[in-house]
Amino acid sequence: MAIDTREQAIDRLLLAREIEEFLYNEAELLDERRYSDWIELVADDVHYHMPIRRNVKFGEWDRENSRAGTEVSWFDEDKLSLVGRVRQLETGLHWCEEPASRVRHIVSNVQVVHAAGDEVQARCRFVVYKNRVQDHEDLFIGKREDLLRRDPITGWKIAKRTIILDQNVLLAKDMNILF
């Protein structure tokens, strides 16, 4: 890998900082239940995918995460269905989120993997904590891979999101929150 000039290094840092800021702001919108504002950050051609994690033999890692479209996943969504989910959360009648859960998205280890043109591939780790009603707790921990696209209004839009949840049997009774 070629060594960056000082100028290139600063550009890289600025981009990384900008992506971090975008992801932290996104987390803030979700945690403050501003779902209608959040959906504005989602590109119209988004693919939002959470595979199921298989227990596979050593070396069969390519089978570990289920493939979108042809295998069973937890989420395999487009913009229309995410809009539907946001509307459902805002009805006040979606009982698994009524009364609303207390949800915190902790985003860390943010890395820009690749940047080309107006698109950036970024990855991060997440800890999503959900606490609801009196004593119900769910913890969702994993890795997220995002394709972000520059947008004149929102700064960036989420064009693709893959959510790698570190569970096999889902240890939650439902998972109708946004990651």
């Binding site: 298989r54 596979v56 042809t70 009648l93 009774k173 998972m175």
Partner: protein, 459 residues
């Protein structure tokens, strides 16, 4: 059976289905739960998997019967087996992978290894430590007493005295058999996809298993938030329960959806019983405008082809059913409710697709099913919430003294010559739940299959 912790009330005193009352103890009492594992799960026919999950010699998938892990395996002569997933030496799981292909199942504890037909073929230090005296032939993987391949679907029981699976299903055998056809009626035309969605609901298994396909009345309340999907142009995503017409009167232009219950065997479903034979019922478009037109076209052609195959019948050929005790086989998904402690259920969703459907149809169908079903689905997530808190709020010392009423449609079931042997009731009836609970009492009290299935002797 007598309860240790409930002032000596016998089971039959806890259940009065003629009056439509059931004690909450059935759902919250740990002694009853332990008895269920013996009386029901060690004797009943249970769903294990499907041929399509293990197409090649050496293929396996880890499944479950009751609380216990089992392996569905296709051996090297292509024969299917269902084994308890436990090493015969010290009981370790011989397989901790969800699915895959293997020549041998080798235990990671002392290295005992089993062939794909279950035979114990390898014992390390067989000569030096066991002096070649260990009888390997008696220590193969423990296999189920009976297995049945019904149109590609695999079922098993631990009880050699259980009746055949076809007899176990009784009047619902066609509904279940045809659910594993392709949608156009092609025999064994379904494929069941992997991986399986597995998740835990803090509730007793019966809350889910006995109400699914037996509780149409919950829809307009539980699933009320689904109405937004209709306004967003996503009506397919909205469960039929959330449609605006009153649940009691629901039905298409050609016949009402009704509750059909097995009179004796505890199975049942919700199904349209048409006023005209199925070959005279036109296809009702049901796919979203934004989906590729090939999808609608595929299902239209399938409907018409199936109509011809089942010409003259008044049920639509598929429709699925609850199979006692813990699975609902449906057109678009299969729902399993495994007992996992008195207050915990491990639920599984398995999704079927037509084997030979074009890729575009398979993708659209799967996408729809995933959005609607399971813990991340917009429909079922609200069921989990309600079952969870029904369990919690039924468990208290005072709460469990109360009974649940199961009275909707009580005494209003009738016979219909088009579906012989089946009790028909309006959709909103709780007949299916009463039917399952009646069968539950029989299982819990019966000493053997002779009492549970007297027909076997008559036939």
């Amino acid at each position: 059976m007598v309860l240790k912790s409930s002032s000596e009330r016998s089971l039959s005193a806890l259940v009065n289905l003629d009056q439509g009352f059931v004690s909450r103890e059935l759902y919250v009492n740990p002694d009853i739960y332990q008895q269920e594992l013996e009386q029901i799960y060690a004797r009943a026919w249970l769903f294990v998997g499907h041929e399509s999950m293990v197409p090649n010699p050496g293929d396996f998938v880890q499944s479950r019967m009751g609380e216990e892990s089992v392996l569905l395996v296709r051996d090297h002569k292509r024969k299917l087996h269902v084994f308890l997933n436990t090493c015969r030496h010290r009981g370790n799981k011989v397989c901790r992978y969800d699915d895959g292909n293997t020549r041998l199942f080798t235990c990671s504890f002392h290295g005992w290894s089993y062939d794909s037909d279950g035979k114990l073929v390898g014992v390390p230090h067989y000569k030096t430590a066991f002096h070649e005296e260990l009888d390997k032939s008696a220590l193969g993987l423990h296999e189920v007493a009976q297995m049945c391949d019904l149109n590609g679907s695999i079922w098993a029981t631990w009880d050699r005295n259980a009746p055949s699976f076809e007899d176990y299903l009784g009047e619902f055998e066609p509904s279940i058999r045809h659910c594993f056809d392709a949608t156009d009626g092609t025999e064994n035309g379904a494929q069941l996809l992997l991986p399986i969605q597995k998740f835990r609901i803090p509730t007793n298994w019966k809350f889910a298993a006995f109400s699914f396909d037996g509780d149409a009345l919950h829809g307009t309340t539980t699933h009320r938030s689904l109405g937004v999907f209709i306004t967003e142009g996503l009506s397919v995503m909205a469960d039929e329960n959330s449609r605006p017409e009153p649940v009691v009167e629901r039905g298409g232009p050609f016949g009402r959806t009704l509750e059909l219950s097995s009179r004796e065997l505890g199975h049942g479903n919700h199904q349209s019983l048409y006023e005209r034979p199925i070959d005279q019922i036109p296809y009702v478009p049901s796919w979203e405008k934004h989906e590729p037109p090939e999808v609608e076209e595929y299902y239209r052609r399938s409907w018409e082809k199936r109509g011809k195959k089942f010409a003259g019948q008044y049920l639509h050929g598929r429709g699925g059913a609850h199979v006692f005790p813990n699975i609902n086989v449906q057109d678009d998904r299969h729902l399993l409710w495994h007992p996992h402690g008195v207050g915990m259920t491990e639920s599984w969703r398995i999704f079927p697709l037509d084997k030979d459907a074009p890729e575009i149809v398979r993708e659209a169908t799967l996408r729809y099913a995933l959005r609607s079903c399971g813990p991340s689905g917009v429909t079922e997530s609200d069921d989990m919430e309600n079952w969870n808190y029904a369990m919690e709020a039924s468990s208290g010392t005072i709460a469990r003294r109360l009974d649940y009423p199961f009275q909707s449609g009580l005494g209003h079931a009738y016979a219909d010559e088009r579906v012989p042997g089946i009790a028909v009731n309006q959709l909103s009836a709780e007949e299916n739940q009463r039917s399952r609970l009646r069968r539950w009492v029989q299982f819990m009290e019966a000493g053997s299959w002779d009492e549970l299935y007297p027909k076997k002797r008559e036939r």
